[in-house]
Structures are given as C-alpha cells and as structure tokens.
C-alpha cells in the first residue's frame, strides 16, 4: 500500500513544486505551494509522523501561506508590472546545475537502499512531545525566543515609518 501512496503523493508534491517555481503570478504559486505542502503532509503520515503532519497543515498551509497571500494582496503588483523573466543563458545554466544537484542527490539516496526495519514510535504526538520537553527542552525554549525575535523584527520592518 505504501509505495502506491508514496508515488501518488510524491508526484503531487513534485508537480506542485514545479508549478510554484514556474508560475508567472505569485498568487498561482502560492496556491500550488499549498498543494505541495499538503502532499508533503500526507507523506509524513505515511512515515507515521502524525504530529508533524498536523503541524505541517496548520502552520504551513494555515499560517505561512496565508501570510504570503496577505502580502501578495497587500502590495498588489499589477500584472503588467511583474518582473519580465526570459530564459537567458544564465537561467538555463542555473537549471542545469540544479538538475545536476538532483542527480547527485539520487546517487546519495541510493546508498540508503537498506531494507525496512521494525519501526518504533518515532512520530506520535506523545513521543515528539516527550522528546521536546525532556531532551530538547532548551532548544525548544530557544525556539520561542527565535519566534519572539521574528515577531518583533517583522513588526519593526513592516511599520510605515521605520
């Protein structure tokens, strides 16, 4: 069952990602980004990471992408004022090198072609929560400081009069 679902959701994620990168208008990209993120969340479920899957949907799709859409609508660049993007030599080279990177990633991935092992509980809410509040407590608390800094930074930057 898993391989089929993996192929389906993997294909959706990749297709969505390609659409994100290739769309001319950012609004289309944002919507395709939601698609990709949902597909990735499904993949998390396939790997028993239920907690992460939930976070993925709530935080990413529900917050980050909404933030993107807010900004897109806020600045509201008209269609004709969007940057004109043509396929130059440099762009082509960039795509080629990115392709090369994917090739290399494939070579690396092949080394992990070990058969599946009995799984322990690695992604349930309980397991992740226990880890976060015991072993990784300090990192978890520092994360809150990071978020606080981001909040203050975002407000300070986006204020009308800097």
């Amino acid at each position: 069952m898993e391989p089929i679902l993996f192929i389906v959701f993997g294909a959706i994620a990749v297709g969505g990602a390609i659409m994100v990168v290739t769309r001319r208008h950012p609004m289309s990209s944002a919507l395709f980004l939601i698609l990709t993120l949902f597909a990735v969340a499904a993949l998390f479920v396939l790997r028993q990471a239920h907690f992460l899957a939930a976070i993925q949907v709530i935080v990413y799709a529900g917050a980050v992408v909404v933030l993107f859409i807010f900004v897109i609508m806020l600045i509201n660049v008209p269609e004709n004022k969007l940057p004109l993007e043509r396929l130059t030599g440099f762009r082509f080279l960039g795509i080629m090198v990115a392709g090369l990177f994917i090739l290399e990633a494939a070579l690396v991935a092949r080394r992990f072609a070990t058969p599946g092992t009995p799984t322990a509980d690695s992604g349930s809410v309980e397991a992740v929560g226990r880890a976060l509040f015991t072993d990784y407590l300090l990192a978890f608390e520092v994360t809150s400081v990071l978020l606080l800094a981001a909040v203050i930074g975002a407000i300070a930057l986006a204020k009308k009069r800097i």
Partner: protein, 688 residues
C-alpha cells in the same frame, strides 16, 4: 705608581668628545635659534666667505666685536678639552716611557663592542710608542690650532658649529690612532673622513666649498673600500682584528704556510688603497687641493698635520705585514716617490697660497710613503711628526696672511708683507727653512733620513733617492717662491685691502711662535748617529718596528758613514740650489718667470692646470659614472624596475576591473555561486 696614569688613557679621546657634547648643546640651543632669528629679521648677510671682508678690520676687531657669552664659553671649551687631552696624553706617554723598552705596550679594554660567532672586537685603546707619537702630535698640534681658530674664526657666525666639528675630528683621530684593532681604526678612519667633509663644506652656502666637500668624501670612499676589504681579509686570514693578536700570529702562520706572500700582498695592497685615499697619494690625491675651500685652520689640522697622515700611520702600524710582501713595499715606495715629485712640480706654478701648501702637503706625504716603502718606518713617522709641526705652521701662517688681507689668497696680489706682519713672516720663514731641509731644523733630519734610507736600505733604490732629492730641490724652490712673492718685493695689494693690513691677534700669533719653536727643535730628538747625535726617536719606536724592520732598514747599512754625509751634503746642496734659483727668479730678475712661461706655453699650461688630472678623471671616470647613472636611472630604474612595480599594480588593477563585475549585486547570482559550490563539493565527496 706612575703607571697608574695609564688607566686614565680613555680620557684622551673622551675629553674631546665631551667638548663635542658641550658645544653641540650650545650650538643647538643657543647659537642656532640666534642665527635663525637673525635670518628672519633680514639682517645683512655676511655671506659664506666673509672671514671679515665686510667688517672693518682696521683696529682691534676683537674688542669691537661684542662677543655674546656663549661664544666665550665655546672659545674656552673647544681648546680646553683638547689641551686637557694633551696633558693626559703627555702624562700617559711619560708613564709608558718609564717602563722598560720591551714592555712599552698598554692595552685598555673598555667594554666588549662587537661579538658575533668567532668574531670579537672590543672597544679598547692601545698605547705603544707608535700611537704615543701620534696622540702627542694630534693633541699637541690640535690644541695649538684650536687656540688659533678662536682668533681666526672670531668673525664667523656659526662659531659653535665649527668647534663641534673640530672637537669631533680630534676625537675621531684619537680613536683612529688609539684603537687596538682594525675595526676601531676603521671607525676613527670614517669619523675623520666625515669631519673632513663637514669642515671642507663649512661654508656650505658657497657652491665650490660644498662641491669640494663632496669630492673629498667620494674620493675617500674609494680608498675606504680597499681598507674595509683588507680588514675582512685580515679577519679571514687571522681570525681576529686585534693588533696584538694579528701581529703575534704572523710568524706562526707564515711558517705554516697559511699566510702566503700572496695573501700578505693582497692585504697590504688593499690597505694601501685605503692609505692612498686618505693620505692623498697618486691617483687619489685630487681631493686634497680642493679641500682648501675649508677654513685655513682646518687645512692646517686636518689636511696637513693629522688626518692625511693617517695612511702613513696605518702603513707603519701594519709594518709586519708589509715586510712579508716585497711587492707591496715596492708599490708603496714608487707611489710615494712619484707623488712627491709630481705634486712638487704642480706646486711651482700655483698662485693660490693655500694651494701651493696643499700640493706641498701631498708631496711631503709622498716622502712619508717613500720611507715606509723602503722599510724605514721610523723615518716615515719621524717625518710625519716634523711635517705636522712645520706644515701646520705654514698653513696657520698663510691663514694669518689671508686674515690680514681680508680673505685674499692670490700671491700675485701680495708682496712686501714682512714689514706689516713681522711675527707671521718670521715664523713662516722658519717653517720654510725647515721644509726645505736646511741643516739644523727639524725637516732636515727627517727628510735626510728618508733620503738616506731610500738609498741605503735593502728595499731602497738609487732611482728612488734621485727622485726624492729632485723633489727636495723643487720643494725648496717653490716654498721660497711663496715666501718671496708674499713677504718680499713691492706691494701688489689692492689699495682698499692694504689699508686694513694688520698683524693677527695673540691667540693666533702665539700658536705660530710655539709651532716655530717645534719646527726648529722637533728634529733634535732624531739626530742621526753620523752627525754625532743620538737618535732617541728611532730607539723609542724600535719596539713597534722590531718585527724585522731592523734587518730591512739596516740591511744595506754597511754603506760607509762617509757616503751618508756625502749624500746629506748633496741634498742640502740641491735644496740650496732651489733656494738660489727662487731668489734669482723672484727677487733679482722678476721678469724671467713670465718669459719662461711664455717660452714654453704648452708645458706651463700643463703644469698650471695640474696636468689636467681633474679633467682626465672627469672624462674617464666621472662622466662615465654620471652617464651610467643616468642610464640606470632612466633605462633601468624608471623603465625596468618601475615598469615591474607599476606592471604588477596595473595587473592587479586590471584583474580587479574585470573580477569586480562578478559582484553584480543580484542575489540570484550569489545563490548560483552557492549552488555551484555545493554541487562541486558533493560531487567531490561522491567521486572520492
């Protein structure tokens, strides 16, 4: 107990150094601000070569000149330190004389100076009979000239500066003669060269004086190079530069074959190159006549009595090495004899009173080298001493004349001065008799000993004797020409100048009189045996030249006493002939010299222009060096070296011009570089 005074030997050079310090402080903090302030107020400049030309010289200029207090201090300190140094020297030499003859060597080590690997050179002073003669001459004559300078330079503005240089010179010269190793001698050697340069260029606002200073310095540099290489060679051969160790090792090294005749010849010839430069011998004598641009007391002290004899001292000091190298001895003798004759002939035609004396100095230095070259080092040092007396006297006398004539140096504009300047005339006449070799005066004994040794010594040759005797005759001729032109005959002075003619003050005449006494009596310590005297001087110096000079000097001494007397009479006869000729040409038939000059214009011009040696050097060496330097400057330095430097700069600039375009400011490009780096890194890791 008497020996104890030797422990204060360091005071001998230290006292003049103290004078340098005191005078420097005065010059820096009192005199210089004063002169600068004067300049700012646009005070009438006396010009560089005033020597009182603009000041009325008629009556008691010393009194009318309200000297500031600092000048009085300088006038006291400058001579006093040298006088004190003379007293200490005298006491030290007496203490040395109280020792037995074989023990007359005292080395005072002050502190280790240079220590590097096996090389060790202490700052140490060595007092032995040779250096004792030198320090007595340097401090004694130096003191008299310092006193004389107080009077002579009284019209100069930069009074303290002059005495700094003079004291510094005394210090350096004492370092030269007292140093116990070749390196310390070299320091003194360079020090006196520096002071010579500074003093020749004392009137540095006058271009000819500044040029003469540079010429002296550069020509000396040629010689110094030889000296320095010789010191290296000595260290390489002996492993030390201490006199006592070097000379002590000579017999052993010569026996073991390390010190071959070839090495000894190389060392001695290189040393002689240094001596030739410092003592103004052919071919490096050209700087000395030009050095007369300096103040006259300087000419007397540095360019006649002391510094220029440093070369003779050095050759005498290294006599043990010279005796191992017959070729070098021959070179020294031939160069000395040639210089003696050559410069004497130039002296005949010169009209500048100081230039005549300058060429005379070169000629007399040639005598000293002739003596050294034939192994008669004692005679050379003896002549060095007597020459210091009478030549200093001659220069100071000429300075007195020049002073009286408000700066006039041309003998054609003098005459009949003996009535106006009785003391100067008398003392100068005595000195002239001494240099001409009239029996009984100092010059006679020393010069005759040289001539006798050049004939009789094992290294001698009849040709050298002939040249020496001829030069002696010419010397007598041109010296009496000088006296006759200056002091006798009708006055040819400018009327303006004649009004101010006056005898010099006591500070100038007293040194003249003292030097006159020395010029007469200075030779009496070395009266040859054949004249029934006893040669104390030879006995005194014997320990220094005992390394074999004895044998060499007396090698041919089997010649009879009769022959010695005969030769003596011969040289006196030649001198009298020279005097007679001068009397005939410049007193009786005064029109004849001009006729002779007109009869052989080519020869006369040749000699008058000093054989065009300066011009030849200019074409053969100076021009080439200048052109070469210009080529190096334009082609090598500007085009090539600067080209490399500028080329590298241009390369970097060009590379920067191009590579800065990599920094586009576009974030995508930076991200691409990042990606490319990551890809290459991962690829590398996968591949390896």
């Amino acid at each position: 107990m008497v020996d104890g005074i030797l422990n204060y030997l360091w005071l001998v050079p230290a006292l003049p150094l103290l004078g340098v310090i005191v005078n420097s402080v005065i010059a820096l903090f009192v005199e210089r601000p004063l002169l600068l302030a004067e300049e700012d107020h646009g005070a009438p400049s006396h010009g560089p070569s005033t020597r009182g030309t603009s000041a009325p010289m008629g009556e008691g200029h010393g009194a009318s000149h309200a000297a500031p207090a600092y000048r009085k201090l300088v006038a006291f300190v400058g001579p006093a330190v040298v006088g004190a140094s003379f007293v200490v020297s005298l006491l030290a030499v007496l203490a040395l004389a109280a020792r037995p003859a074989h023990d007359r060597l005292f080395v005072q080590v002050l502190f280790p100076w240079i220590q590097a690997g096996t090389f060790f050179a202490p700052a140490a002073f060595q007092l032995d009979p040779l250096s004792s003669v030198m320090i007595l001459v340097v401090t004694g004559v130096g003191f008299l000239i310092h006193v004389y300078s107080v009077g002579y330079m009284s019209h100069e503005k930069a009074f303290a500066r002059y005495f700094i240089y003079l004291n510094l010179f005394t210090f350096a010269m004492l370092l030269l003669v007292l140093g116990s190793n070749f390196l310390l001698m070299f320091v003194g050697w360079e020090g006196v060269g520096l002071c010579s340069y500074l003093l020749i260029g004392y009137w540095y606002e006058k271009k000819s004086a500044a040029d003469a200073g540079k010429k002296a310095f550069i020509v000396n540099r040629v010689g110094d190079f030889g000296f320095l290489v010789a010191v290296f060679l000595i260290f390489w051969t002996f492993g030390t530069v201490e006199y006592t160790e070097v000379f002590g090792k000579i017999p052993g090294l010569a026996a073991s074959g390390v010190l071959t005749t070839g090495i000894a010849t190389a060392i001695t010839l290189l040393l002689f190159v240094g001596a030739v430069g410092k003592s103004a011998q052919i071919p490096l004598y050209v700087w000395l006549p030009d050095a007369m641009e300096g103040p006259t007391p300087v000419s007397a002290l540095i360019h006649a009595a002391t510094m220029v004899t440093a070369g003779v001292y050095m050759v005498a000091r290294t006599n043990a090495l010279y005796l191992l190298a017959p070729t070098s001895m021959a070179v020294v003798a031939v160069v000395g004899a040639a210089t003696a004759l050559f410069s004497a002939t130039i002296g005949i035609t010169q009209n500048d009173i100081k230039r005549v004396l300058a060429y005379s100095t070169v000629s007399q230095l040639g005598y000293m080298f002739l003596a050294c070259g034939v192994g008669a080092f004692t005679a050379g040092i003896f002549h060095l001493m007597t020459h210091a007396f009478f030549k200093a006297l001659l220069f100071l006398g000429s300075g007195s004349v020049i002073h009286a004539l408000s700066g006039e140096q041309d003998m054609r504009k003098m005459g009949s001065l003996r009535k106006h300047l009785p003391i100067t005339f008398t003392t100068m006449f005595i000195a002239t008799l001494a240099i001409s070799g009239i029996p009984g005066l100092s010059g006679f004994f020393s010069k005759d000993e040289i001539l006798w040794k050049s004939f009789s010594s094992g290294h001698g040759h009849v040709g050298l004797w002939l040249v020496g005797t001829a030069a002696a005759g010419i010397t007598a001729f041109y010296m009496f020409r000088l006296v006759f032109l200056t002091f006798f005959g009708d006055s040819r002075m400018e009327p303006e100048v004649e009004k101010h003619v006056h005898e010099s003050p006591y500070s100038m005449t007293v040194p003249l009189m003292l030097l006159a006494v020395l010029s007469v009596a200075g030779g009496w310590i070395g009266i040859p045996h054949v004249l029934g005297g006893y040669n104390y001087f030879e006995e005194w110096l014997a320990p220094v030249f005992a390394h074999g000079a004895e044998g060499a000097a007396h090698g041919g001494a089997h010649a009879s006493a009769a022959l010695e007397v005969l030769l003596m009479a011969g040289s006196v006869g030649v001198a009298l002939c020279g005097i007679g000729l001068a009397w005939y040409l410049y007193r009786v038939r005064t029109e004849v010299p001009k006729e002779i000059a007109d009869r052989v214009p080519g020869l006369y011009d040749l000699v008058l222009n000093k054989y065009y040696v300066d011009e030849i050097y200019d074409v053969a060496i100076v021009r080439k060096i200048v052109n070469g330097s210009i080529w190096l400057w334009e082609a090598f330095d500007t085009a090539f070296l600067d080209g490399i430097v500028n080329g590298i700069a241009a390369l970097v600039k060009g590379a920067g011009e191009r590579t800065r375009r990599l920094q586009t400011g576009v974030v995508g490009n930076y991200a691409f570089s990042l990606l490319l780096g990551a890809v290459i890194l991962v690829g590398f890791l996968l591949w390896s």
